[in-house]
Subunit: 338 residues, 2 copies
DNA sequence: ACAAAATATGTAATCGATTACAAAAGTATC
DNA sequence: GATACTTTTGTAATCGATTACATATTTTGT
């Protein structure tokens, strides 16, 4: 059975297609009685709007592309949930692509916007290659691209992020407040903005507190479990072991703790460990992880709202360029006095 | 700068739009020289096909909807990765929606197919409400719906799944082979097909091996960490504790182990524990988890391929209705002789 | 009661690509 | 060189909704 079209509805309601269209998308300009007849006809015919037709005519795709570096990273799930929720409410669909695949297939990201597949783009990957970033920022559609969580320093895209600096300071102060004075840090990947900022804030806060910081206490990681394990081996090998470690991500912290426990070190008895992000698993981990909580659902919702605002009313220049969302300290059992 | 259209290309190449269109989508019918001229014109104009226009004319959305019960579940990530990879290769986009949101917003799932937003649907949620399932199966587009991993018993949708029965038997035999004779099981949620089948296979295999099975050794769970914790409390409270536990999911196993270790029981010293799925985290867990591995990437790829075959050549009735993919035993450190 | 304004509806062009059909150009065959 | 056939290209209709503009109808003001 073919689905019915505006024409069919118009025939049944005995009006023109223009009236049906108006009745559905802009009801106030249609008289009460006509509106009712159209509504009945819609019900009778089981009419569903054809998105392809509307998209062509209105030059809108009614969908947004979300770009992830890695679908498997649990950090993104709640963000997607938030984005999806807001988009669905506005009748928009959510397209997903991983930056990896796009690169593999030689496809250009900007094509999604240029060829009417998506009206906007939310990028969750700050590690885009330079040429990709340049291509995006020079594109005519650049104002429809928004970064969330991560961002690219040089480019001037709108973005949503959390208080990375403040979060880091809160973390360090939590450890300091417990009595720790020898505090180490496992960083994110070199070149990553988040890792960089958290590291800078860490160094700055230690300086403010007048705490010593040995060079070897800053261990380079990359947000992953595996990197956490390696860092643990470094820690074990140290002569003067820090009594607390602030990790740039929960996954790092988990890997660190896991490797320690394989070598019979206990957290927080031998060393206090903190993460950053407060992913779902942090609460279930053993020991439950003290972390800096980012409201990922909120990040997703905010990103989607900002982007939709730009898509729907692109003229207004009172548009937010960057939104910074608060973080909070979640104290669990992986930290204690030294 | 507006993007250029077929018309623009045609003008530059000095041919008709029909020729340009053919030159791009069906080059063999166009002469070598013309094809070259068109190619040059495309490059000169920076032409990009307009998907909305093509979709309208061809009655194809060139996209597939993937329905998840829960974006946050790490089990799905690799499946999405597999789906995405195959779709991208064929020029299809991947839309994502969660069954929860769709239900909340009162939207009907089938609308995605009816209103030209998607050409097909991959459903990763076997727990759809009955009315939704009925709506889907009675739809004209029902042949474009495919279930992956989970499925609905009564309905006759094509599906991709893994060897749940065989996997369960392998698991039980692994434990039996280590010398365990008192083996318990933590099930999936009541009513879930996967949980049901794994439970049945578990009971059957124990019977085949002639092993005793006390009623309390089958603990009802729901695939989550939390359920695993509860089951651990049950286990602790038992007089005659089983020496091995086969869990219907890795998350159950992790919750179970976590709760045990909070009560100073050690795995595998006090009890051997197995999971099912082999999610990424299983390898990093402490202890690393013995599990039944499903190749989730492969499940995703297979699902996407099957669905595309149905979309592209819907006539052929030599189409696979169900593909069952093999599983394998991954032995790590959570199991040992009693 | 009539003009002016406001409201409601219809007509038809439009978005940009695809494709049935027609026409033209080229090749082979005798 | 004429005929039949194949290959290549063009013309124009089409997909289904939206919307500028025109027209018809109702309301308002005096």
């Amino acid at each position: 059975m073919k689905t019915s079209t505006l024409q069919d509805v118009a025939r049944v309601a005995n009006v023109s297609t223009a009236t049906v269209s108006r009745s559905l998308s802009n009801p106030v300009v249609v008289s009460e009685s006509t509106r009712r007849r159209v509504a009945d006809a819609v019900k009778a015919t089981g009419y569903r709007i054809n998105h392809a037709a509307r998209n062509l005519r209105t030059q809108r795709a009614h969908s947004v592309l979300v770009l992830l570096p890695d679908l498997a990273n649990p950090f993104f799930s709640a963000i997607l949930e938030g984005i999806s929720r807001v988009l669905a409410r506005q009748g928009y669909s959510m397209l997903i692509a991983s930056t990896q695949h796009v690169h593999d297939s030689g496809e250009r990201l900007i094509d999604y916007l240029d060829d009417a597949r998506a009206d906007g783009m939310i990028v969750l990957d700050g590690a885009l290659e330079t040429d990709v970033v340049e291509m995006l920022s020079s594109a005519s559609q650049a104002e429809r691209i928004l970064f969330a969580c991560e961002w690219v320093e040089d480019a001037n895209f709108p973005s949503v992020r959390c208080e990375n600096r403040t979060g880091t300071r809160i973390a360090v102060n939590h450890l300091y407040g417990l009595g720790h004075t020898k505090i180490a840090h496992i960083t994110g990947p070199t070149g990553n903005v988040l890792g960089q900022i958290r590291k800078e804030a860490f160094v700055a806060e230690l300086a403010d507190l007048g705490l010593e910081l040995k060079a070897e206490w800053i261990m380079t990681g990359d947000f992953t479990l595996a990197a956490g394990c390696l860092a643990a081996q470094e820690w074990i090998a140290m002569n003067d072991r820090p009594t607390a470690v602030f990790c740039a991500s929960d996954q790092l912290a988990m890997g660190f703790i896991a490797e320690l426990s394989r070598h019979d070190f206990k957290v927080p008895d031998h060393v206090s460990v903190m993460g950053f992000d407060d992913i779902d698993l942090a609460e279930q981990f053993i020991p439950p992880l003290t972390s800096i909580r980012q409201d990922r659902m909120m990040i997703g919702e905010t990103a989607a709202k900002m982007l939709l605002a730009r898509i729907v009313t692109p003229s207004e220049e009172n548009l937010e360029r960057a939104t910074v969302l608060p973080v909070s300290l979640v104290i669990r059992e992986s930290t204690s006095p030294p």
